[in-house]
Amino acid sequence: MQEAIRETLNARRLLCPLPVIRTQDKVKQLNTGDQLEIICTDPGVMHDIPAWCRINGHKVLETNTGNHEYIIIIEVGAK
């Protein structure tokens, strides 16, 4: 089995739905079980990225807020 990887996506300054689109495109390149950390500045992502994950079967592992940044860590679900 392939080792799960963890990648980071810089989505700072992008407004929704662009962080979601970038996440979607990045996830396409990842495998089930891989993790993606998405760093954003639009608070809308706290709503939109989890919603996108629920629809598409990915898991939100962690969300952090601070210093006007919003960080979401997701695990890629079954493809």
Binding site: C16, P17, L18, I21, G44, H47, D48, A51, I55
Partner: protein, 347 residues
């Protein structure tokens, strides 16, 4: 057993496209949603920028609709491709800068490409005959189907019975009898249908699905094009049109004045691309300066900026000018009076 058919539904986040998808899902078709991000979409954005709007649920309605329907949603970035639609629409603009007919043709065409690439069978839209003056008249419906290249693979479940049968109907993938014949601007049939489906929370944007139907937004876009001498734009340009007060005292420059804290924070992100100003002797909003300007213009602009600071009634205030490289200098100016900031400067 017959093959399960697959359809992609254009999901705007509004009620009509939600119902259209639902009608087809009820017939056992596998439906997934597609949503095109042109850069002008009402979804997201300004409510994320403006701190004062944070109390409202700032959900993305297209995602929300997909979740309610239990379908996947593919959001496609069409910002670059959309330029040719907006800059030179074959069928012209609507009431404002909205090229609705060309826009529909473009989106259905993109959906057509998508179904070919993803092995889906047909396309669903929530269009209703007579609903919108420009793109949804009965005579325009065949234009969208034909010029998009979708032809008879484009099904409009909300008004299909008033249109010639499409392939999904002729092939029996969907039962035409269970489709609808809604026409006109009344929202009653849709609201009734939503009730029957048990859908009680939905968004109904009044103007349309994008900022281009907004009078004030359109005026700012036209002003931008006029000032730069061509109709081009970048994503940052069209984002900034959504933020702040836009004031153009002279043809060669305009000021973008933050209206509140959230906008100020957003504009901070552009300090490397624009000269910016703020009042340093009194509280006041961050202002970006867009355009080439002389020293005299800069002084003039500083007096406008001073007008929006708390020291507007003083004889003199300090305005700090920050260059794109971060270097700063401060000048003293007399704020313009209310009457001196002319109404026609407001874009």
């Amino acid at each position: 057993m017959s093959k399960q058919r697959k359809a992609v539904a254009l999901i705007s986040g509004g009620l009509d496209s939600m119902l259209a998808a639902k009608i087809v899902m009820e017939q056992g078709v596998h439906v997934e949603g597609i949503n095109f991000f042109t850069g002008f979409c009402v979804e997201g954005h300004t409510h994320a920028i403006r701190a004062q709007d944070n109390a409202k649920p700032n959900r993305n309605n297209a995602l929300w609709v997909a979740e309610q329907l239990g379908i996947k949603l593919h959001i496609v970035d069409v910002i670059q491709e959309y330029k040719k639609v907006l800059i030179n629409p074959k069928h012209g603009y609507g009431t404002h800068m909205n090229p609705c007919l060309d826009c529909k043709i473009f989106m259905v065409n993109k959906a057509k490409q998508w179904i070919v690439e993803n092995d889906f069978d047909f396309i669903i839209t929530g269009e209703v005959i007579g609903q919108r003056p420009m793109s949804q008249t009965k005579s325009k419906m065949p234009i969208v189907a034909k010029q998009s290249g979708a032809d008879d693979l484009l099904l409009r479940p909300m008004c299909a019975k008033n249109l010639p049968a499409t392939k999904p109907e002729l092939e029996g993938w969907v039962d035409r009898e269970k489709l609808h014949d809604i026409t006109g601007r009344s929202r009653k049939p849709q609201i009734e249908m939503a009730k029957q489906f048990g859908i009680d929370d939905y968004s109904q944007p009044a103007g349309g699905c994008c900022f281009l139907t907004d009078k004030y937004y359109s005026a700012k876009l036209v002003d931008l094009w006029k000032a730069q001498g061509d109709k081009d734009y970048e994503l940052d340009d069209i984002m900034l049109l959504k933020v702040g007060r836009h004031i153009r005292p002279k043809p060669n420059f305009k000021l973008i004045v933050a209206r509140e804290e959230g906008e100020g924070r957003f504009l901070q992100g552009y300090k490397k691309e624009f000269i910016s100003m703020h009042c340093s002797s009194h509280p006041g909003p961050l202002t970006l300066i867009d355009g080439e300007m002389s020293a005299e213009d800069l002084y003039f602009a500083a007096r406008v900026v001073a007008r929006y600071a708390q020291g507007r009634d003083e004889d003199q205030v300090d305005i700090t000018i920050t260059q794109k490289d971060g270097s700063e200098r401060t000048i003293q100016v007399k704020p313009f009076s209310k009457a001196e900031v002319l109404n026609e400067w407001h874009v």
